[in-house]
Subunit: 195 residues, 2 copies
């Protein structure tokens, strides 16, 4: 879906390799400089394109970084292992590992601050980054309800917040690795659903 969205938005399919090179350059740069110090000029230089070419595709740093995060570090859907606890633990562990080991975790705090200044952009980021992950967790919970592992009346949106909220809270408010135990958090929340 991100690929199709990208092409639909930009038009000509023959440009998609160049777009890919630019997004890869963004992620490479973010391994070296903090988001706040990244510039459009540095992105153009690193991708080997002119600034007009870059600006033709993306009008702001926040928009090209959002695309880089969404397109290249695609959100891994939570798995379907046939057991609600196993799905949630595996999905949360993968999410924590992604934040701890890739540019996604380092860039999000600065990006989130910039997104708050641009309502269109946060809407796009929400639609393409946060919502797909929430949708994936919703599916896990609905399968759990269908299998009778969770009560039918469970407040799915609240449970999604309770599962990913503590992980984002740790990521955004404290540098360094996220110490949250996926197992313990999932057990607490699942007991809460059933209790």
């Amino acid at each position: 879906m991100p690929r199709n969205q990208l092409e639909a938005r930009r038009g000509r399919p023959r440009d998609s390799r160049r777009d890919e090179e630019i997004l890869t350059a963004v992620l490479r740069l973010l391994e070296e400089v903090p988001y706040a110090d990244l510039t459009m000029a540095a992105i153009a230089r690193s991708a080997g394109v002119g600034k007009p070419t870059l600006y033709l595709r993306w009008s702001t740093k926040a928009s090209v970084v959002t695309d880089a995060l969404v397109h290249v570090l695609a959100v891994e859907p939570f798995p379907d292992l046939g057991d609600v606890r196993a799905d949630l633990v595996a999905g949360l562990r993968a999410m924590i590992r992604l934040f701890d080991t890739t540019a996604a975790g380092r860039v999000l705090p600065g990006l989130v601050a910039d997104l708050h200044r641009d309502h269109d952009l946060i809407a796009a980021f929400d639609e393409r980054y946060f919502q797909p992950r929430r949708a994936s967790i919703r599916c896990v919970l609905r399968r759990g309800i269908e299998r009778g592992e969770l009560p039918a009346g469970v407040d799915v949106e609240l449970v999604v917040d309770a599962l990913i909220g503590p992980v984002y809270y740790r990521l955004l408010t404290r540098p360094g690795p996220i110490e949250t135990s996926a197992d313990d958090l999932v057990d607490l929340v699942l007991r809460g659903c059933r209790g």
Copy 2:
């Protein structure tokens, strides 16, 4: 305690009124401009002091904004109403109201991004902003354990994360009011503790 810390750090007590005026000016400015657009020059101008006077007290924008948030919008401790659920619901509601109705909520996303670039500063912010609130919630949970409302083996740090994580997640990743229901979140987490 914030007042004492301020005086201990700055020395001469006769300066405390001027400090107060500067911190009030910071909060007034943050009602009008986003954190990212705030400058030390604008703070000095608005407080009616020279830039050297301002820099003598605070070396960076992030440090004076942190002090403004901690000192003027003091963290309200969670109450002691004799019932763990009542304490948590009242405390979370007050926290959500603070974020929804004061500069604290609007300034935190930008400030958090800046804090990630300065490890000393995030340590100070953690010690003076996040930790007092966590300590206050820990007290609520310990009183609940003493009264037999919660099992003795409850993972207090995990429960604190589960209670405030979803609120910060909403605040930091989505503009507009925080829709989290304090009642529903507390009920989910307390069932998880007891289940």
